[in-house]
Symmetry: C2
Amino acid sequence: MEAITIKDIAKALNLSTSTVSRALRNSYEINPETKKLVLEYAEKTNYHPNPIALSLKENRSKAIGVIVPEIANNFFSQAINGIEAVAYNRGYHVVIFQSHESCERERSNIQHLVGRKVDGVLISLSGETTDVSHLQEIQNKGVPLVIFDRISNKIEANEVIADNFQGAFQATEHLILSGRKKIAHITSPSLLYTTKERLEGYKAALEKHGIPFDEDLVHYCGFAPEEARQVIFELLDKQKPDAIFTASDRLALDSFAAVKAKGINIPEQVAFIGFTNLQVAHLLDPPLSTVVQPAFEIGRTAAEMLLNTIENKQSITAVKTIKIPTEVNLRTSSN
Amino acid sequence: MEAITIKDIAKALNLSTSTVSRALRNSYEINPETKKLVLEYAEKTNYHPNPIALSLKENRSKAIGVIVPEIANNFFSQAINGIEAVAYNRGYHVVIFQSHESCERERSNIQHLVGRKVDGVLISLSGETTDVSHLQEIQNKGVPLVIFDRISNKIEANEVIADNFQGAFQATEHLILSGRKKIAHITSPSLLYTTKERLEGYKAALEKHGIPFDEDLVHYCGFAPEEARQVIFELLDKQKPDAIFTASDRLALDSFAAVKAKGINIPEQVAFIGFTNLQVAHLLDPPLSTVVQPAFEIGRTAAEMLLNTIENKQSITAVKTIKIPTEVNLRTSSN
DNA sequence: TTGTAAGCGTTATCAA
DNA sequence: TTGATAACGCTTACAA
């Protein structure tokens, strides 16, 4: 039941391994009949080249590594879906790791992937990552790299992100146009690039409509489960906003739940809109308006960019950033 | 910037590769000083053994393969999370594939994984898989295998599943105890093992409470997006149930949305409970009672079982099935 | 057109 | 205690 090798074929057909190898790969420098013989035998015995031997020889693995903060997250699992779709079509494997929002773990993941000789790396940075030397190292080693969604301005790399500025602008403007003036922004840790971009979009919308920016209305939340709830309660007590713009699935749901728990009416007293990839936003009570990051599309695009770089269709040094538009879904209680 | 190898160390220290190798692995048959020298140099140059060369030599990869129908699914992404947690702790990599509910794709995934010499496979069957010969083949090859959640009775293998019977029983009984008599069951394709078990639980609860089983109240839904909606509309028109018990996230949401779209009051006219891993069930309008499959736990358990088999802590032939209890969350509009 | 041999990085066997 | 050599499966100069 052991897998058949080129040696076995060679022995069976009284040929040398190199002849068999040639028959299997090239078409030139080989007698068509020999070739036919080999191919038939290979077919019959269900021969498949050993990818590990190939990796060792060619120093590549036909695999790409993916590092995300968490798999069990709508955005990331959808992005992985997009990545996998492209990789599969182009004959690559996907090796997935989670950083669990830990920079230490992220470094270790990178080490593993490099050791495994992956042909390229797709990464969305952990919420903790400020030092990006581990990424610079793999760039120096010539390993193609694409950063998606959670990018960093500390490193020059190919990037794919949602248009966070635009999404945040639209979300905020939507709240303003529906008559809100005191719009809170509950968002992710301040060092994330996406956080900054969204804040800019939020500010730009306020400015456009002549509403002064009040930094007490902006709250940064870590990834601890109870944190958002505390922040919201405090916010509701002190700043008393008439609208909340949240930056992620988790923040949207935690805020939503916290506001309801306080017995505050949504959207009469506090209107909501969130950056989320929830698929049930329209079924919530009341339905939640959302700004959606096209996760699948982001994954797809990032994977394509990476594979193009790997296959030298794109220069490894020509760094660029692709922005994918967000989608706004406005929902009212009536529909 | 190329990775350093044993050869490099040997050359630098004027030793043979075998001595270096020994210094790095064994402690015996080696001069402590030589060993120290090698280890120091290895440390200094940041030497890491090439896992690909090791794989080729030892015919194993320190990687496990995971095949799930879809990654972008709460249940599966949480299960993968559990798998990854265990694998990481025990020094294994996780290679993930999706079958996209296609048996063909599943076979191809298995081929890839076997080719890659993964040390074991974790799989949750596609909704289409009836012929399990591809699984039997890898068993014959001696590749450790654990099937989780979507198992099959056509193959003897290690399995980890939720207690679907118990969960379905509790769900149905809950509806009965709240006064419902005409309880519909919207469920997955009939050939899934989980579907059968849930149906049994449903029937058992009806029987216990003297309600005759009516097969017109049971509807099997494929994975097409619009299918559930159609089924629900028809069901509402013809059978007019006073309660619905659904079998998955998707079916719960689609049914929920369809019933609301019909302008039917939940739960007054139709009560709901679903087998889901939604994290927002309590925020829906009205809150949705759920039977939760402990996805993370299932993944964790399956991965542990697999790694124990791989590392020979468990015989590969001693096949067993582990059932993980489900959790029931009852929710009413008032809380 | 085909075969021989070296090499990818490592370990195991045997000899020194 | 150390070193030379073969082997894992494959490709590719180079030789025949």
